[in-house]
């Protein structure tokens, strides 16, 4: 595939060659980079940019899939002035099983920066932050270098491309905690506080960082923006195989032959990703189910393998597309222990603000651990079902962490109920016995 073809069909990864260092500013530009910037800044009005992004049907790639253009349109535009609006890139990627943003950050930092400048221009932000998780040290270093180069080139700073538009960009390296990825918790954290999420409304678009209008977008979302601006909404819409637009970074981890992350047209069927890209199950392992988009999505099972991986289809099947990175459950891994690992993770990462999450998740994890240890009791599955109901219903908790945390448990109880029951009836984990026997 030649470079232009690749740029047209795989915009996000057109520059990605994992074996070498990412493009520096010159190389990025040589490959057509900052084309979006030149197209828009000073030439298109923010309102025109917004319209293009709206028309593109780009949806947030951070997990919730909210239409990006619509989100941006809530930012009050009459409200300008220095230090007055913010754009934040959410590069906190900590969702279990998710490893797509790391790739984009480490392989093409300028693409993200270009997307951020365009997004900031569209909403009239004059300060942008990249909120990056602490462990992404390489990505952080590359970003800082790239930002420095952009200042040198006049793509950041005052009067960008002579348009009169000013933008400063900073990198904030976090100090851990999964909850920081939740956009309002992220804002609290960026303010130097404990990362407790905030009640919505008011939404960050009107009252976010330091009380000012703020947009938080995922890395992948923002990386799409330069291409949309440069090539137009129609091109982007045409990329998708189903009603969703664009490409998507899909990933597969677990006991598959070739775990990895690929950019594919959105709406690619699950089977194609699982078998075509990831090479199917490892020898000696059979497929039992998968979480389609990270640790906080519901299980899908064999009957779902031919579904298209897009927001609507996966939603109708009772799960969520989430981050689009699948975790595969094989037949030799205990589903109860699998779910226990996830629930214990979410319990540990709860911010501790609201009761159902703070107390209910550890309790659920403790029950699952009891089950796994062969100490399950008769009513335990009912208690777990109660937690699924209490914690898992959106709105019952202060933020979306807890409902997400319950998705694997809820669907696990649905698809693998026998396994749960066998732990209680047999007073032991059947998988551990098999392991021990092997």
């Amino acid at each position: 595939m030649n470079a232009l073809d690749r740029a047209l069909t795989h915009p996000l990864t057109r520059n990605v060659t994992p074996e070498r260092r990412p493009f520096d500013l010159a190389a990025y530009e040589a490959g057509g980079g900052y084309g979006g910037l030149h197209t828009a800044i000073g030439k298109l009005t923010p309102a025109e940019c917004l319209q293009i992004v709206k028309d593109s049907n780009l949806r947030g790639r951070g997990g919730a899939g909210f239409p990006t253009g619509l989100k941006w349109s809530f930012v009050p535009m009459e409200d300008g002035g220095p230090g007055h609006k913010y754009l934040i890139c959410n590069a906190d990627e900590m969702e279990p099983g998710t490893f797509k943003d790391r790739l984009l950050l480490e392989c093409d930092p300028h693409q993200l920066i270009e997307g951020m400048i365009l997004a900031a221009y569209t909403i009239g932000a004059d300060v942008a932050y990249v909120f990056i998780r602490a462990e992404y040290l390489l990505a952080e270093r590359l970003l800082r270098e790239a930002i420095r180069d952009c200042y040198g080139k006049g793509y950041l700073g005052r009067n960008i491309l002579g348009s009169g538009y000013n933008l400063d960009m900073h990198v904030h390296s976090s100090a851990g905690r999964y909850i920081c990825g939740e956009e309002t918790a992220l804002i609290s954290s960026l303010e130097g506080k404990r990362a407790n999420p905030r009640a919505k409304p008011p939404f960050p678009q009107v009252s976010g960082l330091w009380g000012r209008p703020t947009i938080v977008n995922n890395v992948e979302t923002l990386c799409n923006v330069p291409h949309i601006i440069e090539r137009g909404a129609q091109w982007f819409n045409d990329l998708g195989l189903t009603e969703d637009a664009g490409t998507k970074m899909y990933g597969v981890s677990g006991r598959v032959k070739n775990p990895g992350c690929w950019e594919l047209p959105i709406g690619t069927p699950i089977r194609e990703i699982l078998e075509g890209c990831a090479g199917g199950m490892e020898d000696g392992y059979a497929f039992r189910g998968l979480l389609p988009g990270g640790g906080s999505t519901d299980f899908l099972v064999a009957e779902h393998l031919d579904l298209a991986m897009d927001y609507g289809t996966i939603g109708k099947a009772g799960s969520r597309m989430g981050t689009g990175t699948m975790i595969v459950l094989d037949d030799r891994t205990c589903p109860v222990a699998f779910v226990q690992n996830l629930v214990a993770f979410f319990a540990r990462e709860s911010c501790g603000f609201c009761t159902p999450c703070r107390e209910g998740l550890p309790w659920s994890a403790q029950l699952l651990a009891e089950l796994e240890a062969g100490r399950g009791q008769a009513g335990d599955l009912d208690t777990l079902a109660m937690h699924v109901d209490f914690i898992g219903t959106p709105g019952n908790t202060h933020c979306a962490l807890a409902p997400g945390a319950m998705e694997p448990l809820a669907s696990g109880l649905k698809y693998f109920r026998e396994d749960f029951q066998r732990h209680i009836d047999g007073r032991a984990c059947p998988y551990c016995e098999r392991e021990a026997a092997a």
């Binding site: 009380g211 319990a347 603000f353 107390e359 403790q366 009891e370 009513g379």
Partner: protein
């Protein structure tokens, strides 16, 4: 506007959230993190109800759980509290909270008045299913007032929301994460906020409890209580002291929508237990030849008082901390010309001037709640955090009106607490402070200036001029051009006036604390000038003590002698008998002066609660009941007359001062009192005799009042063990004492409901054993009590009939070897009685002199030196405090050691050789490792 709850239509108002609405309707909906004064954050998820989108969904029972505290009400909205789905969820929340709760109710100081207990019973949670281990924490030593027991925590975040967000404290924070969240300090140490004690009431369980109560424990249901008024300062916060076995066990807040609301300061909460002190006088003591006191009975004492008075040449010293009635009777006894109100000679004109200014000003004299509505505040020379702490808390709320204004722009309602704080961040209404030193309000001030007292007055006058657009005033007479700082005062005044440009409601706070009449006058002028621009102005002038203003009203305009005048009379041999009412004169004037005064009188009769230097110098010491044991009217700084009722009958030969004095007058055959039998008669007599006090009789219902035909009980319905209480003496229960003086009963019989607010004796409603049951007594959740306002406003402004005086202020300059002496008040220590209460006693630091480093160097003094001020006898330790205004020496006011010092006088400081400083005391966080 109407909403439907469980199929029933109810009226609702749109500025209330659903939780408030439900509580206001008398529906039992459990909650934890919401607080009527602090709004909602949605942390505990306890107040869940089902919301239906429409009628059809309601029919089908298909709805969505919402948190009532986070849900605005709108016309036609449909909810269910009772549906199984909502009930199960609320039960589940309690069950979740209980997985780590220690269930130590039997040994918990909160037991019996625990909001968590109430809510647990309310949702019907009983059986434990959780099989894991509970998490445990190490408790911290938080000082002598508040006890910490973290294992009981249910993580509702109320403590930090109060401590940090509401009261501005910085040393209590949430720590840790997930299910391991700890509320405490960075390390063991005394909580720094002067409002820390409110944690005891704000915490819905037993994490923060009253240390004094923990050590001398009684359950709420065994406490006898009555409406009282805090005697800690002049604000007049309403309190509910609780008693058992003749001892005061604790003081709780008594809600008053116009004054203290839900919160007291620590002086008020912890400063009344001095009434249990072993130095209380129990019997009258007659000094014998050998200088020792012999106990006599009250008949004997009365005869001696009467015969002393009959011998002629009587003079009396009243007390600004004693009730209006006691002072009035004493004044009747001695005659107005021989009645000294009992202020220090310095204070007397200051308090008189405060009253005169309040009358002359056309600005509103605000109550605390009204202060909170200000959108701009100027504080001139008064350190309210130390002299009237509850006002400081109000000012912290006032500056938040900017946040509420911003929130309104986003259509956020006032109860959306977290959202509003996030929106406004540190944007506040302008608060300007001019003081001689740092104040604890400085962190929320737009500008805080450190100025010498005369400069504060000049700043105020210039602000007034700037507001009036008046540049014509010639300040040359005050030598301003000689003062290099003057330009800066001028500039600051212009900046302040500019900062008030957008304000609509200005509050000016000043008072007697600066010791300078000119400062108060300047404050009044600013308020006046602001008002003249067609906007609303408020003027609050702080006076020193609980009844200072009442005393000023009693003596208004009739030239009562001050202490100096009294001393002169005594010197001239004009006083045979000196009666001193509840007043330790050694805190009012220099020791040698008081010694001389007392020595120059033939007989000194001191009526007081505690043994003190004045009673020790008296010939007859007469035990008086305390404010907790007696009825009385106190007039607060806003001119509000409020009634206190005895919480328990005084024991031994302690009687209320009014009883002693009325009996004396009757024995003397005074015509005026011949048909006075009750306290109410005295109150009415005083109201009739003193026009300015005419309103006091209406401060509370009189003793004949009955609530639906019965009395208001002091003991709650579950008051237990009345026969067991004295089982070591007799198993027969004595008859409960009768209360002849009030509509309250010393028993559990009666009705604690629907009574006028002044008679609220405890807060208790079915299902609501904790103080959260208060909403059942409120007309509107978080709003005024059903019984109406408590107390009565006495002050009538004369509407500008007298022009505001304008004091010429001399420029401030000190000679090279001089300092200007300025008073520095302390919340713990400057008020004599609270300072000896257990707990607070540990926090009182010795009096000292404070200087900035530059001045110390100029005068050749060093930190820790002993210094003598002028010819004041006592040597005081010197502390370097760089927050002192240059040229000023702060002296700790209200202490006996500094009683002889006159504020705002130029003095020389002399270093004392061989000075040994007073022993170390607890300060801040430097006391680690001890567990209380």
């Amino acid at each position: 506007m109407n909403i439907r709850i469980d199929g029933v239509e109810y009226p609702a108002t749109k500025d209330r959230n659903l939780l408030e609405t439900c509580l206001g309707l008398g529906l039992n909906l459990p909650y934890f993190c919401w607080h009527p004064a602090m709004g909602s954050v949605g942390a505990c998820r306890q107040c869940a109800v089902l919301q239906y989108p429409d009628e059809e969904a309601e029919q089908a029972g298909r709805g969505k759980l919402v948190m009532a505290c986070m849900t605005p009400v709108s016309d036609g909205a449909r909810f269910s509290l009772e549906t199984a789905q909502a009930r199960r969820f609320r039960q589940g929340i309690i069950e979740s909270l209980m997985i780590n709760h220690p269930h130590d109710c039997p040994v918990c100081a909160e037991g019996g008045e625990c909001h968590l207990q109430d809510m647990t019973v309310m949702v019907g949670h009983r059986d434990r299913r959780y099989r894991g281990r509970k998490r445990t924490f190490r408790n911290q030593y938080l000082g002598p007032l508040v006890h910490h027991e973290m294992n009981r925590c249910i993580t509702c975040y109320r403590c930090t929301r109060f401590y940090r967000d509401y009261a501005g404290g910085t040393d209590l924070a949430a720590q840790g994460c997930h299910d391991h969240i700890f509320f405490g300090r960075h390390e063991d140490g005394v909580l720094e906020s002067e409002f820390a004690g409110n944690l005891v009431e704000v915490c819905p369980t037993g994490v923060f409890t009253d240390k004094h109560l923990v050590h001398d424990y009684t359950r709420k249901w065994d406490l006898q209580s009555a409406p009282s008024v805090c005697a800690g300062c002049a604000v007049g916060c309403n309190t509910l002291p609780g008693e058992r076995y003749g001892r005061l066990k604790r003081v709780h807040n008594r809600f008053n929508a116009e004054i203290n609301g839900y919160f007291l300061c620590d002086r008020g909460r912890f400063g009344a237990t001095w009434v249990n002190d072993e130095r209380r006088l129990d019997y009258p003591g007659l000094r014998g030849e050998d200088g020792r006191y012999n106990a006599i009975d009250h008949h004997g004492a009365l005869q001696r008082i009467v015969s002393s008075v009959e011998r002629g040449a009587v003079a009396a010293v009243g007390s600004p901390r004693a009730s209006v009635e006691a002072n009035f009777l004493l004044r009747l006894l001695a005659g107005p010309a021989r009645f000294c109100p009992g202020f220090s000679a310095v204070e007397q004109p200051l308090v008189g001037e405060a009253l005169a200014l309040l009358r002359a000003s056309r600005a509103t004299v605000p109550d605390i709640a009204t202060m909170e509505t200000a959108d701009a505040i100027l504080v001139l020379g008064e350190d309210v955090s130390n002299t009237a702490p509850r006002i400081a808390l109000a000012l912290r709320q006032g500056v938040r009106n900017r946040a509420y204004a911003m929130a309104a722009g986003l259509k956020l309602q006032d109860w959306q607490d977290a959202a509003i704080r996030n929106l406004a961040q540190d944007q506040r209404c302008p608060l300007f402070i001019a003081a001689t030193a740092a104040t604890r309000l400085d962190p929320v001030a737009a500008r805080s200036l450190r100025l010498a007292t005369p400069e504060i007055a000049r700043l105020g006058l210039r602000v007034a001029d700037a507001l009036a657009g008046d540049n014509s005033n010639d300040y040359s007479h005050d030598n301003s051009h000689d003062n290099p700082d003057d330009h800066s005062v001028h500039r600051e005044a212009a900046a302040i006036a500019d900062g008030l440009r957008d304000a609509k409601r200005l509050l000016v706070v000043s008072g007697t604390g600066s010791g300078d009449i000119a400062v108060m006058q300047a404050a009044a002028r600013v308020a006046e000038a602001f008002r003249d621009t067609g906007r609303e102005a408020m003027l609050s002038l702080v006076v020193p003590e609980a009844n200072s203003l009442g005393q000023a009203l009693l003596c208004e305009g009739n030239g009562s002698p001050d202490l100096d005048a009294l001393a002169a009379s005594a010197e001239a041999g004009e006083i045979d008998t000196l009666l001193v009412l509840e007043n330790d004169l050694y805190r009012r004037a220099a020791t040698d002066q008081v010694d001389r005064l007392l020595a120059n009188c033939q007989r000194v009769i001191a009526l007081d609660q505690l043994d003190n230097p004045t009673t020790s110098a008296s010939h007859l010491a007469v035990p008086a009941a305390s404010v907790i044991e007696s009825e009385g009217t106190l007039v607060s700084l806003e001119g509000r007359a409020q009634r206190c009722f005895p919480v328990f009958p005084p024991h031994a030969e302690r009687h209320p001062a009014w009883v002693w004095l009325l009996a004396t007058l009757k024995e003397l055959g005074r015509e005026a009192v011949s048909d006075w039998h009750h306290f109410d008669d005295v109150t009415r007599g005083c109201a009739a005799a003193i026009p300015a006090l005419a309103g006091i009789a209406a401060a509370a219902p009189d003793h004949r009042f009955r609530n639906h035909g019965v009395r208001v009980p002091r003991q709650p319905p579950r008051y237990s063990g009345r026969t067991a209480m004295r089982a070591n003496v007799s198993v027969h229960e004595p008859k409960q004492p009768e209360d002849e003086e009030s509509p309250l009963a010393f028993s559990m019989e009666g009705l604690n409901r629907d009574q006028p607010a002044a008679l609220l004796s405890y807060v208790w409603a079915p299902g609501w054993n904790s103080n959260q049951g208060l909403h059942r007594f409120q007309a509107d959740v978080g709003g005024p009590l059903k019984g109406g306002p408590a107390g009565i406003r006495l002050l009538r402004a004369n509407g500008g009939a007298t022009p505001l005086p304008r004091h010429a202020t001399a420029a401030f300059a000190v000679e090279a070897d001089e300092v200007l002496l300025v008073p520095r008040y302390r919340i713990f220590g400057s008020e004599a009685l609270s300072a000896i209460s257990p707990g607070i006693r540990e926090l009182v630091r010795p009096a000292c002199i404070e200087l900035c480093a530059a001045d110390a160097e100029r005068l050749g003094l060093a930190d820790g030196d002993g210094v003598q001020v002028g010819d004041n006898a006592a040597a005081l330790p010197l502390r370097i405090d760089d927050a002192m205004a240059p040229g000023c020496a702060g002296y700790t006011a209200g202490y006996r050691e500094t009683a002889g010092l006159a504020p705002n006088t130029r003095q020389r400081l002399r270093r004392v050789a061989h000075f040994s400083p007073p022993g170390p005391t607890v300060i801040g966080s430097d006391r680690g490792g001890r567990h209380g």
